[in-house]
Amino acid sequence: MHELKILGVGILSWITFLPVLGMIIVLMLPKEKEKTVKWTALGITLLQFVLCIVLWMNFDNTLAGINKIEGFQFIEKFTWIDVPGFAWTNRVVIEYFMAVDGLSMPMVLLTGFIGVIATISSFSINKSIKGYMALLLLLNTGMMGTFVSLDFFLFFVFWEIMLLPMYFLIGVWGGPRRIYAAIKFFLYTLFGSAFILIVMLALYFSSKDPTTGAHTFNVISLMDPANLLPGSLLAGSLTTARLLAYAALFIGFAIKVPIFPFHTWLPDAHVEAPTAISVILAGVLLKMGTYGMLRMSYGLFPEAMVYFGYALAVFGMINIIYGSLCAMAQKDFKKLIAYSSIAHMGYVVLGMSSLTTQGISGAIFQMFNHGTITAMLFLIVGVIYDRAHTRNVDEFGGLANKMPKYFGLVIIGFFASMGLPGLSGFISEALAFLGAFSVEPIRVITIISTLGIVLTAAYMLWTLQRMFFGTLPEKWSGLTDLTAREYFMLVPLAVVVIFLGVYPSPILNMMATSVNQLVDFVSKSTSLTIMGW
């Protein structure tokens, strides 16, 4: 039960709400002073990242807290809303409950890191930079909050906070079809969060907090079946209500991941969003879906998860194969990367569905790696787009000689996303496959999914060949190599990708005990094997 307070306020609250402070400062700055706006935003995000590192330093790898409150660290638990009951309404208690465990620690680190990278890459935005930076910082808070909050209500609040700035960032600073993309993104996610809201309320009304006696949103107590009122909607195990609730939660989070049928918003959002926003969208936002599933669906409806395990694996496989095939057919470089991130998220879903330690730790590690690798890929797209203002792959050629340093980083980015050993992508994919393969019924699905590696190699190399080899069309003769700022964006990512590829233990050790605890908790919740029915 580590406690870390700065100026009396817990570190998690600092990390979550520092960007809001930054936003206020940025809003107060005069409009013309663009330089100061940019640098203050960067300063804030850097400070947040430093805090994340401090958090990591004090993080104790041996503690595992999925459903046991004593396993969590840096806990901040205060009653936020406490309306005493009158007449026919009973008492409403909502807690401000924040904590971190093996599941959320990697995500906090990733958000901090990607936040800094995105802010640096936002320096190239020229249209009303002040509004942009303010929204970016608000978005940062939304993301960080989702990963650290353990009260379902607070989780949902941050989940919604993330939506609004994203809509404006795509809608105002986006490409030609930005309005369509922004609206589609917004409505799609909102549609999903409607489902989450329903389940949240269902849980709330069928729960009884041991201490306060009133209903509760506290995720930890909701996980313990004893706290669910006997006659209530979601009590018991494997009742149709609980399965339906799990399915609703699944849809809500699947839209965010995105999983196959709900994914069409992603390519549009990416193609239209400015580079920095694509980086954040692919880097962090997609992880909120899978993190939500791990924390909420697995925690609250463990037996439903086992029951639907096979279906989840099938979704994962479809994602991988479907994403890769679609990516191969794209002409727009950014859309290709968008589809490739669908494929990579497919590995996460496959790993998660296996319910084995290797599988789930592979999934979480893939979430982290995908964050860094896809961020790198989108920055690569951004670099080209800033210079050539076109993303059509066929218009390029022979860039390797023209921009050798850029080519070096592209090689690292591309081969990392192909899952080449020695780079971080491989380990998470390998672990996910090993975990999924060890589960008898999912064996065939895993074998089919391994095709994904070949398909990824195919379309990545094809793109590499079309853009970087061959002769340079004369219209691109003016292209310059990387600027210092772009170096600052790409090199740290490359270093992380290579370091984690060679020595992944820092991240893996962080999550190991929590993952074991999760697997133990979920598999004990029901006697069914994964092939439930």
């Binding site: 049928p261 679609c326 020695g422 496959f433 393969f437 061959g470 002769t471 050790n509």
Partner: protein, 700 residues
């Protein structure tokens, strides 16, 4: 001690890569001397390691890489990386370092003046590092990691001149085809890991011995791991990438596509030989046989010097794989080592010819180089004789023991397997034929291209030294004193056959009825058979006995076949008895079939690549139209219904309101007329009101 040396051997090339990639341009001569020096040091160290490792010593070092603590339902999850030095890896160390050093030395002249010179040496460095990684590793996962790294480096080296389209396409093809093989390999690893809960070879074999992995899954694991070898060593279905890989610089072809990388596949099968079940071995044997035969027929008609050598490599690899398939474990590995030496010499010889003829690769307009390039000619001839299996050469020893192995295997198992020795001998004959055809067309006869021929002169020293060293190594003396019988050589004793751990049911019948323990061949007693003491293992002697019997007939037959091949080559190209073109005319369809590489490329391009692209277009259409369609459809429906309710609202509800309005208006107009403005009318109305009230109140 040996461990630290081998780690040094492993990481020195990586060091050269890092130095050259970052500071290459600034170093004098762009750091090629650095690369070559490092490799020569590695070679020395490798020899030291070889000399100090006994046949049965096993030096092992384990480092923990990933530790996921204790997984529920699985046990402790520890993924370790380890170094293993035993007889196999020691020899391979020497082979890899030798060939890599030769390639480094050779390239100093061959690649001189290239724009990306330092990057070339950097890539060579990292290739050697990955290859050594494969050789030294003690577990499957680490082997897979270096396996893919080797794939990456071959991609980079094949596509070194990525300006022109040829290398671009070849490098991509190579990587993807390798990747297909790797996927099979990884699936095999997964099966093994899931059942034996470990990656390390020793633990795997112990677990299989203990029966944790048996039946269909064991065979599947064996075949899938062999898929890795198919991809990497260019075996039958996936051999298409190796001939295209000739687009890369020739020293690269020599290093990678003749000796080391392609041998990795064979090395993998050798490493995992004990776990291969009978059906897996037969599968391997037949794949090897098919590859050998097909590529031999194709090599006959090729006109590009490097393409001929490429197909001959594929064919020889087929031989090695077949040898392992039939159980001739030592012969297979022996052929790998000898082949590495003389094939590298052939490729470097071709390189010096190309260098001399200023990048002319078509043998039809070469000829008569015998006089101008004496050393190249002599070394080339020596290596060709070794390859064709002419006596007194190392090639003869290794090929002969393989052929003997196939005959023994056919003898023991009989039936359909007799086709193996038949096709094997046929391929051996074809090999002799196309190699001597190559020699005559390039070195003998009149120069067909006058002005190119005049500029030809012997290649400079750094190119000829490796040639000489490698060709000398092709002599038999380095491997066994008796030129006829390889078994008494140091090699056979150093690399004894390995005992299979496969459960009883899945062994060849001639291997059945044996005790269940790993034979750890101590230093074998030097009987004439040079085998382990009979008491230890009956099955062992069953196969060796058969091989021993097959030894002399096989040698006679192989001599006869090789002789015929050479004779035919002489007849066609030296004495011009029959004109090659006339024969080609007569068997026109066969000739074109072989010339176009059995149409494999066209088949793959047409069916698989085209099919895949069509599939992707279908998926793209599906994604845009159907899934997006559903979303936009939903949007359309809501939009339509909203405009519907909008219209309804306007027409109906609004209508009501307007209706009321118009009614009031209507009455308003009527009443307006009442206000005539004349006072009297108002008075009249008042009176009228009074009358009404009168009547109303009267009734009250």
């Amino acid at each position: 001690m040996l461990i630290s040396i081998s780690l040094l051997i492993l990481f020195l090339p990586l060091l050269s890569f890092l130095i050259l990639i970052f500071f290459g341009k600034k170093l004098p001569r762009q750091g090629d001397w650095l690369g070559t020096a490092i490799l020569i040091i590695c070679l020395g160290l490798a020899f030291y390691v070889l000399l100090n490792t006994g046949a049965s010593d096993k030096f092992n070092a384990i480092y923990n890489w990933i530790d996921l603590k204790d997984a529920p339902g699985f046990g402790p999850v520890k993924i370790n990386l380890g170094i293993l030095i035993d007889n196999l890896s020691a020899i391979m160390l020497v082979v890899v370092c030798l060939i890599s050093a030769a390639a480094h030395l050779f390239s100093t002249k061959y690649m001189e003046g290239d724009a990306k010179y330092n990057r070339y040496y950097a890539y060579l460095g990292i290739f050697t590092f990955s290859m050594l990684g494969i050789v030294l590793t003690d577990n499957l996962l680490m082997m897979y990691i270096f396996w893919e790294l080797v794939g990456l480096t071959s991609y980079l080296l094949i596509g070194f001149w990525y300006e022109n389209p040829g290398p671009q396409y070849a490098s991509k093809k190579a990587f993807i085809v390798n990747r297909i093989g790797d996927v099979g390999f990884f699936t095999g690893i997964m099966i093994v890991y899931v059942f034996t809960k470990s990656f390390t070879f020793s633990e795997i074999f112990a677990a299989i011995e203990a029966g944790q992995l048996t039946g269909g899954w064991l065979t599947a694991a064996g075949i899938l791991i062999f898929c890795g070898a198919i991809g990497k060593s260019a075996q039958f279905p996936l051999h298409v990438w190796l001939p295209d890989a000739m687009e890369g610089p020739t020293p690269v072809s020599a290093l990678i596509h003749a000796a080391t990388m392609v041998a990795a596949g064979v090395y993998l099968v050798t490493r995992t030989f004990p776990m291969m079940s009978a059906s897996a071995l037969t599968f391997i044997a037949y794949i090897g046989l098919i590859t050998a035969f097909i590529s031999a027929t194709i090599a006959i008609t090729q006109n590009d010097i490097k393409k001929v050598l490429a197909y001959s490599t594929v064919s020889q690899l087929g031989f090695m794989i077949m040898a392992l398939g039939v159980g001739a474990y030592t012969a297979g590995f022996f052929h790998l080592v000898t082949h590495a030496a003389f094939k590298a010499c052939l490729f470097l010889g071709a390189g010096s010819v190309i260098y001399g003829m200023h990048h002319e690769q078509d043998i039809r307009n070469m000829g008569g180089l015998k006089k101008k390039m004496r050393i190249t000619y002599l070394t080339f001839l020596m290596a060709t004789m070794a390859l064709s299996g002419v006596p007194l050469t190392s090639g003869f020893l290794s090929k002969d023991s393989i052929l003997a192995g196939t005959m023994a295997f056919a003898g023991l198992t009989g039936g359909f397997n007799y086709i193996i020795p038949i096709l094997a001998f046929l391929s051996a004959g074809m090999t002799a034929f196309y190699m001597f055809r190559l020699v005559f067309l390039t070195f003998h006869g009149e120069p067909k291209n006058k002005e190119k021929f005049d500029h030809v002169k012997e290649s400079p020293l750094p190119m000829t030294i490796p040639l000489i060293v490698l060709s000398v190594l092709s002599f038999f003396v380095f491997f066994s004193y008796n030129p006829i019988d390889a078994n008494i050589g140091w090699f056979a004793k150093y690399v004894p056959a390995v005992q299979t751990v496969v459960p009883e049911a899945q062994r060849f019948d001639f291997q059945k009825g044996t005790t269940e323990h790993i034979v750890n061949a101590e230093s074998p007693a030097s009987e004439t058979h040079g085998e382990n003491p009979a008491a230890v293992e009956e099955n062992h002697s069953a196969f060796t006995e058969a091989v021993h019997h097959a030894h002399y007939p096989a040698m006679g037959l192989s001599l006869f076949v090789a002789g015929m091949g050479i004779l035919l080559a002489f007849a066609f190209y030296k004495w011009k008895k029959f004109s090659a073109d006339a024969v080609a005319e007569k068997i026109k369809p066969l000739y074109t079939f072989s010339l176009n590489k059995w149409y494999f490329d066209e088949f793959y391009e047409g069916v698989i690549v085209k099919g895949l692209l069509m599939l992707t277009q279908a998926f793209r259409w599906f994604d845009n139209k159907v899934v997006d369609g559903v979303v936009n459809g939903a949007a359309y429906v809501t939009e339509r219904s909203s405009s519907g309710t909008g219209k309804f609202d306007n027409s109906f509800v609004d209508g009501l309101v307007n209706l009321i309005g118009s009614v009031v208006m209507f009455f308003g107009l009527i009443f307006r007329k009442i206000q005539t403005g004349r006072i009297q009318t108002y008075l009249a109305y008042v009176l009228f009101g009074i009358i009404l009230f009168y009547f109303i109140f009267r009734t009250m």
